[in-house]
């Protein structure tokens, strides 16, 4: 029989009898051409092909694969094949032959895939996920990270003040921020925007330039910076469908990059253009990666998630000033604890004429502007 077949078909059941009701091609009705004892005519062949794949010609995409008639034996055969593939995947992670590192990597990836929302984790779980991420980086890149999962300190509420008469538009803050927070170098993502505005026009964003390149400060202009204002009533948090972003007790509005689904609702909800989206996988040259990281801060992000300024949570929760504050050569940026009555930020709020951007929206940003 197999001598005059038009094509080779794999006969897994090893049945050699021509009397079987089914054949290797998987059709239970009509002729598939493999059982005829004589050479087929062209017409017969076309009918056979039509009977076999006629439907599939009209079907598209998904249906082509799933909406096919098939008998029990074929179904079993296909299932077995997919099971074998699955088993192969499992065996690579469980096999005694594969090296321990590959197994550990698979184990870490598995646990990371199915971990919960960071917001709901207890301290042990937070530590476990951070340890996994550090180990994963170690296995993959051979370098050691220092990643923290430090929670908000009691009696701390972070606030920020920006002196618009001091800012000269040098943008040292922007470059310091990019380096500190491992932002994507390819898309040149920047959390901070410095707007060059005309004197006497007020905050007129329509006429402002946030990507100037000339000697600064330019005559007749002033400069003001925007970034995430860490609103006390953040609209971005309200709209997140998966609660991947929230306000911490110390006032920082943070994102769990592993819980974010990338819907960008928050980006649309933010009235201050404070949020950024990773359209591609963020890339930072290995030598430039800041290895002092925080889970909610500057750890490496992936494609398709939101990110934004976190007031450098990895620094601020360790008592340091955010990178932008430290980098500013003019002292235009003031950062501190709003709950400490002796802090400098409190003195600014109580003694300078401060205002906030779009105050009437009720978002209660914790970012104030003032003048000398």
């Amino acid at each position: 029989m197999s001598s005059n077949k038009k094509w080779f078909s794999l006969n897994l059941s090893n049945s050699k009898t021509a009397s079987t009701s089914t054949c290797g091609c998987g059709k239970s009705s009509g002729g598939c051409g493999s059982h005829s004892d004589h050479q087929m005519s062209d017409h017969d062949f076309d009918t056979a092909v039509d009977a076999a794949i006629g439907d599939e010609r009209k079907k598209d995409g998904f249906d082509q694969v799933f909406d096919v008639q098939m008998d029990r034996r074929t179904a079993f055969r296909k299932l077995t094949a997919s099971l074998l593939i699955g088993a192969g995947a499992v065996s690579s992670s469980c096999s005694v032959v594969a090296d321990d590192e590959a197994k550990e990597k698979a184990q870490i990836d598995w646990e990371e895939q199915f971990k919960g929302n960071y917001k709901l984790m207890n301290d042990d779980e937070k530590k476990a996920t951070v340890d996994r991420l550090v180990r994963s980086y170690q296995i993959r890149k051979g370098k050691t990270l220092n990643m923290s999962s430090k929670d908000a300190e009691k009696d701390v509420l972070f606030g920020y003040a920006f002196n618009i008469s001091k800012c000269q538009g040098y943008m040292d803050c922007v470059s310091a921020c990019v380096e500190e927070n491992n932002q994507d170098r390819n898309s040149e993502m920047q959390y901070i925007r410095i707007h060059e505005m005309k004197d006497g026009k007020g905050f007129n964003f329509n006429e402002a330039d946030d990507n100037y390149y000339h000697e600064v400060p330019a005559e007749g202009h002033f400069y003001m910076g925007t970034q995430c204002f860490h609103c006390d009533n953040p609209p971005c948090v309200d709209v997140c469908p998966v609660q991947a972003t929230w306000r911490e007790d110390d006032g920082l509005v943070v994102i769990d990059y592993d819980w974010c689904v990338g819907c960008r609702y928050c980006m649309a909800a933010c009235p201050y253009d404070g949020r950024r989206f990773n359209w591609s996988t963020p890339k930072v040259p290995e030598a430039e990666i800041n290895k002092n990281q925080h889970y909610l801060g500057n750890r490496m992000r992936k494609k398709g998630v939101m990110e934004k300024c976190t007031f450098c949570v990895q620094r601020s929760r360790a008592g340091k000033n955010p990178a932008c504050v430290e980098a500013c050569p003019t002292g235009a940026r003031i950062f501190g604890n709003l709950l400490d009555p002796d802090s400098t930020i409190r003195w600014v709020l109580e003694n300078k004429k401060v205002f906030r951007l779009k105050e009437d929206l009720g978002t209660e940003p914790k970012f104030w502007y003032f003048m000398d």
Binding site: Q168, G331, D340, T344, R346
Partner: protein, 209 residues
Amino acid sequence: MMNRHILHTLGCIFLFLFALSSCKHGEEEYHSITDKIEAKSKNYHGVTISSEPLIEGIKTIKITEGEHTFLIPERKSQIKQYACTECHSKPLQEMQSNDGAKKAHWDIKLAHADLNTMNCISCHDGDNMDNLKSLTGNTINFNRSYKLCSQCHTNQFEDWKGGAHGKKVAGWAPPRASMTCVNCHNPHQPAFESRWPSVFNTQKVKERE
């Protein structure tokens, strides 16, 4: 009958308690952020985070001005050729008149007010170069040079004391350590120079085309 009455009352109490507790649900306690700051800072007992480890390697001195007490970096050890009297053994007049001899401080150009208002001896004491002097001739220590600046720049001085002018040495956490005037401003040319921005975003240009 009595039992039913008691059950009814109990039920009402539970319902009332439930309603009370659920009323607060999801609502903020405070009307505005200023209310929140005011209320929450009433019971402020300090934080466990400290800036001390961050300023460990920096020599500081503690100053008290008005109601503000804070640290500023020590200055004298940062001046390369202190003490000045190691060279300035004679009064300034005699050293300057000595033409043809070695010149010192040739790189210093004074761009601070105009020469009607200020010259070297407006701040330096020609008779005692190891110290500065005020407008009225009182001695001012190099470590407290801000006292010199504050003679004219009174507004800046007020802002600096409170923390609205200038930078912190390291972190936000107490103890407060602030830079002093000369840590950012060159006293001989105190203005900030104009220069080019440190970054330019080429992607932003493409996106907006």
